[in-house]
């Protein structure tokens, strides 16, 4: 069963087009990642999926229901982790998520039981009685995830869940998200951390300027866009670099590009480029050979210019 199905999904604010007609399918039980630079349209897409923004054009079905602001039948089966924490500073840790459960229709006893269970799950049980302002950034984030789980969601939507967290906190969040996925929760996540997407996502889409540029499993996307293999050469003079790029182009599937004062080669097998250079007497003095990653895909698709 498809949990999210978007066809030509479009969102315009006045004359500004934030989402420019995207097709998206998220299957039940998978973890799907939306990758893109700031302003790419990820959050706008998420807002429409969460019934927090209306659809300008196209169609959007979530959990078999048409998505529009206020569709309670979707919201009841949805857990939302927004970019901002939006925790209630007037309430304790336990009260924050307990009350949220009541919004989902749980009675007092059910909400208390579920809240305590989730505090244990996210390793916050020792903090239950504290005010939320006493929590660290990582704890706050975990509490927001606990809150999103109070309604027992079939779909969990997370907008940049680990931005600003230290490495330990990120590892814990990732582990919990993998546990949830294993328990059958469908997960939609946006991120601009490539390692996060590589670790979590079954499938992903790369978004920029409101459009989807590439989609598939991380492996598929890497192989298709840049090739599995990468060679980074450091400190290559301009004239030499030009000749090396020409030689690399003769190797099937390989592509070299200038990057700073160095050279980067992508392709299914960078070793063959190295051989071709040796044959031509152009072997670089310093190089690193490594597998290509999503970072390479991302930069190759969305460019290296800084985004506001």
């Amino acid at each position: 069963m498809r949990v999210i199905e978007a066809r030509g999904l479009t969102k315009r604010y006045g004359t500004m087009t934030a989402v420019a007609g995207i097709d998206l399918d998220v299957e039940a039980g998978e973890c799907f990642a939306l990758l893109g630079p700031n302003g790419a349209g990820k959050s706008t897409t998420i807002r429409m999926i969460c019934c927090l923004g209306d659809v300008t054009d196209g169609s959007l079905t979530v959990l078999g229901e048409p998505a529009y602001p206020g569709n309670r039948r979707i919201k009841h089966q949805l857990g939302v982790v927004a970019q901002e924490d939006h925790l209630d500073p007037g309430l304790t840790v336990l009260e924050n998520i307990e009350l949220h459960g009541r919004f989902y229709g749980l009675d007092g006893g059910q909400a208390r039981a579920r809240a305590l269970e989730l505090l244990v799950f996210l390793q916050l049980d020792s903090r239950a009685g504290e005010q939320v302002r006493a929590l660290s950034g990582g704890m706050r984030r975990r509490l927001v995830i606990a809150r999103a789980l109070m309604g027992g969601p079939r779909l969990l939507v997370l907008d940049e869940p680990t931005t600003g967290l230290d490495p330990q906190a990120r590892l814990l969040v990732w582990a919990k998200l993998r546990e949830l996925r294993a328990a059958g929760v469908t997960i939609l996540i946006t991120t601009h951390y490539m390692d996060e997407a590589e670790r979590l996502a079954d499938r992903l889409a790369i978004v920029d300027h409101g459009r989807i540029l590439e989609r598939g499993t991380p492996r598929e996307v890497i192989d298709r866009v840049v090739g599995a293999d990468c060679l980074e050469c450091l400190g290559v003079a301009e004239a030499l670099a030009a000749r090396m790029i020409d030689v690399a182009a003769t190797v099937p599937g390989a592509r070299a590009e200038r990057q700073g004062d160095g050279l980067v080669v992508f392709g299914p097998d960078a070793g063959r480029v190295l051989e071709a250079w040796r044959t031509a007497g152009l072997e670089p003095s310093r190089y690193v050979r490594r597998p290509s990653g999503l970072e390479d895909v991302f930069l190759s698709l969305t460019g290296r210019d800084l985004r506001e």
């Binding site: 206020g70 309670r72 039948r73 919201k75 924490d85 939006h86 500073p89 007037g90 309430l91 229709g105």
Partner: protein, 279 residues
């Protein structure tokens, strides 16, 4: 898309359209709205001592300084000693202030600073339910702070009638009456300073000119007409009549005004809030 959805799911049609356009929408008072009120109660319960003291201190000071201080030099008002006259008026003001200052600052912060409303709307809550919950809570505050001030009037011997048992009615009405415009102002304000426009231009003039401190009989007809359309004036009339036992058929007119205000003002905040929360 939205239009199709609204017709396919009639039970949710009204809410589907709530996100777009200007318009009227009555608040909803269901179990989810009561959970919003419960949230406010839980937060209030953590600082209620200072809150009660604060909301209680100012009108008490007014009563003592003006009623017993200034009042000694002031002639009788409509046949009542000055302190007996302003006591019930200050009771109505206590209710107005307890509601107004809470709802405007709190709603502004929930919308613009801590994102409490954003978290609520992401759960299965609608703007109409959030507004409903805030109205319930403010009505409770009005009752509570009114009751505390009433006990002072009682101790000072300023309560003259068993009609006072009906005071919960105007107090609850005051809760609705002042919660709704406060919510609306909070929805439109761009910063805290803009909230003070509302206090300075609407709340303070009402406080001074709604018959709390002096009867309006000697004012020019045009001014009386203006005061007649302000809600606090009618609440003051009702509260004073109940406390002093001067209940007459004219009170039905005040009651009708107050009910009309409650209905009209209650329809305003939900759409405005929905527009802020769903874009």
């Amino acid at each position: 898309m939205s239009a199709d959805a609204a017709s396919a799911v009639p039970a949710l049609g009204a809410e589907a359209r709530a996100g777009a356009g200007l318009g009227w929408q009555m608040p909803r008072f269901n179990h989810r709205a009561f959970m919003v009120a419960r949230r406010d109660f839980l937060a209030w319960a953590k600082y209620y001592r200072s809150s009660v003291l604060l909301n209680f201190g100012e009108p008490l000071t007014n009563l003592l300084a003006l009623g017993f201080g200034l009042g000694t030099y002031v002639a009788k008002m409509n046949g009542d000693p000055f302190v007996d006259f302003i006591g019930p008026g200050l009771l109505a003001v206590t209710a107005m202030n307890a509601v107004t200052f809470d709802v405007t600052f709190e709603a502004y912060d929930r919308l613009n600073q801590n994102g409490i409303y954003q978290a609520m709307i992401a759960a299965p809550l609608s703007a109409a339910e959030i507004v409903g919950g805030e109205i319930v809570w403010e009505a409770a505050r009005s009752l509570l702070y009114g009751a505390v001030f009433f006990s002072v009037l009682l101790v000072l011997g300023l309560v003259h009638s068993w009609w006072s048992l009906l005071l919960p009615l105007p107090l609850v009405a005051a809760g609705v009456l002042f919660a709704c415009p406060g919510l609306l102002v909070a929805t439109f304000a761009k910063n805290h300073e803009q909230l003070f426009y509302y206090f300075t231009l609407a709340v303070t003039p009402m406080f001074l000119f709604s018959g709390v401190f002096f009867p309006l009989a000697h004012l020019p007809a045009a001014v009386r007409l203006l005061i007649d359309v302000t809600p606090l004036f009618h609440v003051v009339n009702i509260v004073r009549a109940l406390v002093l036992g001067t209940v007459g058929p004219g009170l039905w007119g005040d009651a009708a005004w107050v009910c009309a205000y409650c209905l009209a003002l209650a329809a305003l905040p939900a759409r405005a809030l929905a527009r802020r929360l769903t874009t």
